[in-house]
Structure formats: C-alpha cells, structure tokens
Assembly symmetry: C2
Homo-oligomer: 364 residues x 2
Amino acid sequence: RVFKLLVLPGDGIGPEIIRETLRVIDWARNAGLRIELSEGLAGGASIDIAGAPMAEDVVQQALASDAVLFGAVGGPKWDHLPRAQRPEMGILRLRQALDLYANLRPAVCFDELLDASALKPELIRGLDILIVREATAGVYFSLPRANEVAPDGQRRAYDTQAYTEAEIARVCRTAFELARTRQRRVCSVDKANVMETGALWRAVATEVAADYPDVELSHMYADNCAMQLVRRPDQFDVIVTDNLFGDILSDAAAALTGSLGLLPSASLSGLGQGGRSRGLYEPIHGSAPDIAGQGVANPIATILSFALCLRWSFDRADLADRLERAVRHVVYSGVRTPDIAHAGIAAVSTIEMTDAVLTALDAQ
Amino acid sequence: RVFKLLVLPGDGIGPEIIRETLRVIDWARNAGLRIELSEGLAGGASIDIAGAPMAEDVVQQALASDAVLFGAVGGPKWDHLPRAQRPEMGILRLRQALDLYANLRPAVCFDELLDASALKPELIRGLDILIVREATAGVYFSLPRANEVAPDGQRRAYDTQAYTEAEIARVCRTAFELARTRQRRVCSVDKANVMETGALWRAVATEVAADYPDVELSHMYADNCAMQLVRRPDQFDVIVTDNLFGDILSDAAAALTGSLGLLPSASLSGLGQGGRSRGLYEPIHGSAPDIAGQGVANPIATILSFALCLRWSFDRADLADRLERAVRHVVYSGVRTPDIAHAGIAAVSTIEMTDAVLTALDAQ
Ligand SMILES: CC(C)[C@H](C(=O)O)[C@@H](O)C(=O)O
Ligand SMILES: CC(C)[C@H](C(=O)O)[C@@H](O)C(=O)O
C-alpha cells in the first residue's frame, strides 16, 4: 500500500527543519517505504498567501492523507492578529477536522543531555513518560463561549469545558493500549474534587480499565500531578488527561527532561486496525523566529516526529526503531546543534546534524 | 483594637500542628497582640459531628472574625463521600463566603533544605516567588455545571469557567500592590490564545497595570509558565493567574522549592485600608493521615501561616518579621522534624520543633 504524507513546513525554522527531515524521508523510501508526498501552507505562511492560518483545501488534502508532518508556526509578524486568525489556529483546526483526539507527548530524557535539565540527574536519568492528552474536546472546543458586555456595562467572558463519556473513553483506550507496549501503568489525571467533567473523567477511566486487567490504573488530581512530576517524575509511565491539563502538564514534563529541543509529538485518531492511525506529527518546540534562516535549528525533534509517523501511521515500526536508534547514536556521540552544545564544543548546522543521522543510518 | 481569630484544626495532623501554633500565638499575645480566640469544626471532624464539612454557624463565626487559622482536612474515612459532602468542600465554602478572592502562595526556598529539592541548587537558591491565585470565581464556582445523561443515553458533563472584569481587576490589583513590596514585576498567566476568559484576563491585567507604572507587567501562557517554572524559576517575582491555573502552578512552584512541608498560604479579600485584609491562613500541605497522632508532624508551615496572619490581618508586620526570622534561624540551625531531617541526624518532635521556635523568639 502507498501511504500519503502531507508536509506543512509553516513558519520560522519550520521550513529548515522540514527540509532536512525530507532527506530522512528519502532514506525511508530507499528502505522500502512507499509514500506519496505533497506539501501545503500553514500558519503565518498561509495567512500571508491564502488569508487564513489553514485554508480549506489544505484541510481537505490532510483528510485525504494518512499522515501530516508539521513544522512549526507563528512569529512576531502575526502576533497582532485577533485570536481566530492567528497561526496557531491552523493546528487546532487540523486536530478537530482530522479527529486527532489523542495527542501523544513523550517526555523522554536523553541521558547524554542530563546536564541541560534543571533537575538533579538521579531523578531523570532514563526518564520515559508518555502523556496522552485529549485534544479535540474540552475547554478548547466546547460551546457556549463568549466575551461580552453585561447589561451593567461590565465585560464578562466565559468558556465551557464539556466532555461526553465517549470522548473520554476513546482517549483512555488509546492510553491503555499504549501502556501495554510499555510498563502497563496508566495514571489518569483530573480535578474530580472540583469539576463535574473531572468526576465523569474519573468514572469513565475506571470503567475502561476493566477491559485492561493487565494494566494498572491510578488517579491523581492535576495539582498533585504537577507537584509529583517535579518531585519524583519516574513514578509515571503513561499519563492520560484532558485537553487543558494535558497542555500544561505535558509542557512541564517536557521541561523536566532537559531535552526540550529534541522531543517529538503525535496526534492520533486512535490506534485502529493493526494499531495504525491517521496522525499529525510535529516537534513540540516552536518556530523560533530569532534563529530562523540561519541554518542552526535542531532538526532532531522533527526527525523523531517522522519516526513516530513511521510507527503509528505507516506501519513501519522497524524503520521507526532504526531511525530512533540512529538519532540516539548521533546525540550520544556528541554531535550537537547550538541549542544542545556544551560550552567549548563546536556546534554543527541543521544540515550537518542531518548528515550525521543519515550516516548513522547507513552504518547500521 | 482587639482582633478576632477563629481557629479550625480540622483532621489528621491538623489538631497537632494547630495546638503547637497556639503556643506561638501566646508568644504574640505576650508581645502585645490583642486578640480574641475561638475554635470551630471543619472538614471530616465537622462531618462526623455536625453532618457537613462546614456548618453554617462556623461560616457565620468566620464572617465575624478578622482571620481564620486553618489546619488541614481530609482522610481515608471520608474518601467515599460524594464530592459535595467531602472535607475539602469546607475550604471552598469559606473562600466564597468570606470573599477571599486572592489566594497567596509563596514559593520560597529555605536554602538549608536545598538538598531536598529535585532541582539543581543553583536554580533555586534564594528562590522567592509569590503566586497570587484568584480563588472565588472561575471554573471552581461558575454555573451552569452538571453531570447528566443526554437523550441518546450517553453521559455528558460540563463546567463553566466565567470571569467578570471586576473579578479579574481586583486580584490583579492585589498582585500589583504586593509586587510593590517586592521586585515590582508581575507575570500574568492565562490561555488567551485559546480561551475567552484568557483574552479578557489579559486585557484587564493590562488595564490595571496602567495604575502601576512602577511595576513591570508581562504575560505568559499557562503551558509555557509550567515549563518556565521548571527551567528557570528565578525569572519570576509575582505571578497572578486564575483559580484553576493557580491551583496547578502554585503546587508546581511549591514542589520546586523542596520546602513543601514548610510553606504557608494566605487567602485574602484584598489589601484594603492600611493594607489590612480579612484572611484565612493555612499550610499548603495536607492532613497527612499516615502520621497523624504520632507527634512528628512539622508545625512550621502552620506557624508561618500565622506569621502571614500577623502581617496581613493583624497589622503586625513587626511580629511577623520576628517570627519568620526565628523560624529561619531554627531551620538553619539544623532542628528538623522527620520530614526534613537529613539521613543520620536525629529528628525532633512537633513539640520540640515549636520549643525551638519559642526559644529563638525569646533569644531575639
Ligand atoms: C498553539 C496552542 C494553541 C497549542 C495548545 O494550547 O494546544 C499548543 O500549546 C500545544 O500544546 O500544541
Ligand atoms: C482541596 C482543593 C479543593 C483545593 C483546590 O483545588 O483549590 C486545594 O487543592 C487547594 O489548592 O487549596
């Protein structure tokens, strides 16, 4: 079967890191992956040319694809725009249109970069947490929501956080399925002590767990989870939580690792037949306008995002494994772009970093 | 003027740490503080005797007081109760009844306890962040909210997050006022890129800032704030944010310090005349049922909560300063309850720790 991959470079360093990842995609093709590639506009680049952060024909193209590889969007040029027209809205639009309800955020520590973490090395060595964040419902999308002027002339704004049991159950299933490929422990995070949606979340997670007797389920309040992530991050295997808590906790977890610039993410619409899903893959870092165009951006997070794509959308766990191994080898052997270079060590460029990964792949 | 203080010991270690703090309150009286003391039931203790986590007459008593000193509530005995009847609801009820809209959560590092932090010492030495959390509105209290069964038989839950400009403005004012006693920097945290309430929050914070030209205002998204707290906590002076983000971020910040068992908190209804406010003061740690009744609980967080009470409700910054100095002296001189004892050092009891604080006060 020939898979379809849509590539959306976006803004800032997006085009540079995507360009290098395309070389890795070529490697995968040479290794037997059969894909059809197309490219589209997203974010500020799309605003400038098509007048919106995500044009409808790009959404259609994404719907006709098996996977989307996303660079990064945003920059000072578009910061003044009202929220609905800003670059980030493109990604929210895609999450919803493609029903990418499970946002997977691995927080993995590259032990060679332990120095870069704010945490003591003994707390994060070997750290490997997978946060599964619900990404198409909750306060990000629920209605009603408004910013209005009340009869007394005072402004008042409100948002709605809503969840159905089906929305909770499916993302919990994804978390349990993934836990089976790991340490078989799921920690479900909510504010059941304060929120109605939290109470339903906890109830449904517990129900879903009945289908996974081999996986251990625990519950934690979101405030306590933030605390525990800092105090003893290695207690977690898989964390499953709602859209807003997931946004915050996954960034906290990523920061812990000290490997921020290297972390990929995947947004899936479930692990369906043969564990394959439509997916959107993107680095967790931003568009870094300050270093855009200088050829020094780190392509690793995007390359690892493509590895996740191989694993979850293209049914090629074998190639994903090889690619992840090659990246680890390169990072561990000391090849470093400026963002992760130790003082006194010469940093390489975006292109040279990719060269190193390709060389490591060849040498396998 | 004679101030009124209501003491609510609560559950678990609550009664022990409050009992010791009463000895410190006696010291303050001997030092000239004129107060009238009363005591009431809260949490599980109240559920057992009065049938609810906070009886109406206790609320009335609190309303007639200048300040409330709260121990801790909750325990396995009451874990099975439905949310509305649980121990924690008592504190939410008080926050709202007393209009304690500004929850102050200092995240201060005791440098002698640097070892206990998960973070590298150089990142948190001298850390002193003040989180001002809105505590009487937002998703904790807004309506409508429900957990219901939709016509199709599916369960659906929803919560509402609502804020008026007045609710945002007053807590921002508190943050700016407090920033003036510190480094004059306020970071306002929201999800203005995703939420309507976030957009209003940002707008109102910016408007309030106009009245404080001597204080620097910055804005940050909540996910980025979680990340920055881990990466470079010393960039913050005062953080002001909504009820839910404040709940999560203040716990993350507290965890960073490694001084979790020592941190106090205050809930104020604004800094009014002469900077004095009605307030509720409580340690940030919980009721620790596992060590309750053993006489080993650390009373420091409660004692420091009383110091905040002296400062903000009783107009006695002088006594607050003395008390805080005495506590620092004791902790720095190595007197430790088990929770903060180094391996190989004999730990003291709750009573002995208080003895040490009183001795340090006498020696001043
Ligand atoms: C860009 C923004 C809307 C987005 C979010 O809040 O979901 C981002 O923070 C993320 O986590 O992907
Ligand atoms: C006990 C609970 C309702 C409370 C909250 O969520 O506000 C607690 O976590 C806190 O921060 O005081």
